[in-house]
């Protein structure tokens, strides 16, 4: 498995306030990596630097992909456009739009406006927009945060299902330990501000046992919590 993103000595500060401190990591092709850390530790800042939204940082990030999608924390759909029009904003290929909407189960809702959809449906539309660009990498910024438990589990299953078919590289930042355990192959734990990468856990071998409500997940959750200072 070749690398998709190489991060070397990444640091980021707002004025004198150091947010990210000398972070080094390699993310492999088709890998699913979840970055965990306490609220406000700089996870989103890290993801913004990683995804090239924020270019004001020190260090080197080598991105070996051409197309990337981004699933934002908030849906960021244009409220006065229907779902179809929202996707049409990113790509005008109508077949691709239908395919992306079909993939996330929203094809029959394509004529609805974002405000007519539930939070879960809006996040699925957010995901459909990311899929539309045929990404090699998808960045997920706390995509489950505003969802209720049922929608959260449903969206997670959907992403995993799409991942098994499309095989993109997935980078998730979240403070939900269970979400990370169910979603990723590798968990990276970040310290409190200034954020450093303090621990990596490979859970590929445990994958089948780590369901949302399984005892194994609860055990790992406890273990990961112990790494938080």
């Amino acid at each position: 498995m070749g690398s998709m993103i190489d991060v070397k000595g990444l640091s980021k500060a707002y004025g004198n306030n150091l947010i990210l401190d000398n972070m080094n990591i390699t993310i492999g092709k088709h890998e699913t990596v979840a970055f965990l850390g306490p609220s406000g530790c700089g996870k989103t800042t890290f993801l913004r630097c990683l995804s090239d939204i924020d270019r004001d940082y020190r260090g080197i990030i080598n991105r070996k992909y051409k197309k990337a999608g981004f699933v934002f924390q908030e849906d960021r759909l244009i409220p006065w456009n229907t779902l179809e029009r929202n996707l049409d904003f990113v790509s005008e290929d109508q077949d691709k739009i239908r395919e992306a909407l079909d993939t996330v189960g929203l094809l029959k809702h394509r004529h609805l406006h974002p405000t007519q959809l539930s939070g879960g449906m809006r996040q699925r539309a957010n995901l459909a927009r990311a899929l539309l660009v045929e990404p090699e990498v998808i960045y997920f910024d706390e995509p489950f945060q505003s969802l209720d438990l049922k929608s959260k589990i449903s969206l997670m299953d959907e992403i995993k299902d799409i991942y098994s078919k499309k095989q993109f590289t997935a980078v998730l930042v979240t403070h939900g330990i269970r979400e990370a355990l169910v979603f990723a192959d590798r968990i990276v734990i970040m310290s409190r501000e200034p954020a450093r990468l303090i621990k990596e856990i490979d859970i590929t071998k445990m994958r089948s046992q780590l369901q949302f409500f399984s005892p194994e997940t609860a055990r790992y959750e406890k273990k990961i919590l112990s790494f938080y200072e």
Binding site: F70, F72, E74, R76, I78, P79, F89, H113
Partner: protein, 275 residues
């Protein structure tokens, strides 16, 4: 555009439209009482004063409206004022929208243009009139100019405010997906200013009517304003009141018509305004 309108004038949830049980009331609606109070007060006052040259009675004014309509001087004057006011609004929208967009998008442009728009907004109508009469004399140009200069700052500020209220997260999303500037402008910027543009038109409808009549009164050669001016000159107070009443009713009707169209679109539409 259709999509924006649907968003702006959303359809109400059908469950919310269930008719409520009507309660039997012996009282007329409050607005009818308000109208009765207005006309009653006017009638009492005119009876006390008992001098039509100072305050004609509502009945006398109604009679004068009827006679002016029959002799054919009311409707052409009404049409001329209406035409000028709408023309002024159209020109103000055509100039104000791009200028407002520019001021909303670029801080530098805002700093450059703000003093001029502030001066235009603060300038009294009579000061403009004294200049435009010298340039164009009495006619249709001066009232039109006054209408445009009055509505222009209103539209500019509203549009600029609309641009400033754009959700920057949408702009960032567009940047992430490398969307062209043209598409961002037409799909996000223009979409965001529509509510502000509509609210400025709503306010302009009330303002343009009054300004048009004042400008016609002082520098016009046709319309309700000049009719009021002539009636005042010949001390025909009932006629002044008749033209004024028509102007007020027309202004209110225009606003009512606009609100009804918005309301109709609201009922047929869908989107966040349904909440």
């Amino acid at each position: 555009m259709r999509s924006i309108l649907k968003y702006l004038f959303p359809m109400k949830d059908s469950t919310q439209n269930k008719p409520m049980k009507k309660t039997i009331t012996a009282h007329p609606p409050n607005w009818i009482l308000g109208v009765c109070f207005l006309f009653g007060g006017w009638w009492i006052l005119s009876t006390i004063i008992s001098e039509p040259l100072i305050l004609p009675s509502p009945l006398l004014v109604a009679e004068r409206i009827l006679s002016l309509t029959v002799e054919g001087s009311l409707l052409p004057a009404l049409f001329m004022t209406f035409f000028k006011a709408l023309e002024g609004l159209g020109i103000a929208l055509m100039i104000g929208t791009p200028v407002g967009l520019l001021m909303g998008i670029s801080r530098k442009a805002e700093e450059w243009l703000r003093p001029t728009t502030m001066v235009i907004r603060s300038m009294p109508v009579v000061s403009w009139l004294s200049s435009v009469i010298v340039i164009w004399g009495v006619g249709w140009r001066a009232p039109l100019f006054i209408i445009v200069t009055t509505l222009l700052p209103l539209i500019i500020y509203n549009v600029a405010q609309g641009v400033k209220s754009i959700d920057m997260k949408l702009i960032e999303m567009a940047r992430v997906y490398r969307i062209s500037r043209k598409k961002v402008f037409t799909r996000i910027y223009l979409g965001s200013i529509v509510p502000f543009l509509l609210s400025s038109i709503r306010v302009s409808l009330g303002t343009m009517w009054k300004v048009a009549i004042v400008a016609e009164f002082m520098a016009g050669d046709s319309g309700l304003g000049i009719q009021i001016s002539w009636a005042k000159f010949y001390l025909e107070t009932p006629k002044v009141f008749a033209f004024t009443a028509v102007a007020v009713i027309s202004g209110l009707l225009l606003e009512y018509l606009f609100d009804s169209i918005i309301s109709l679109l609201y009922k047929k539409g869908i989107g966040i305004w349904a909440q």
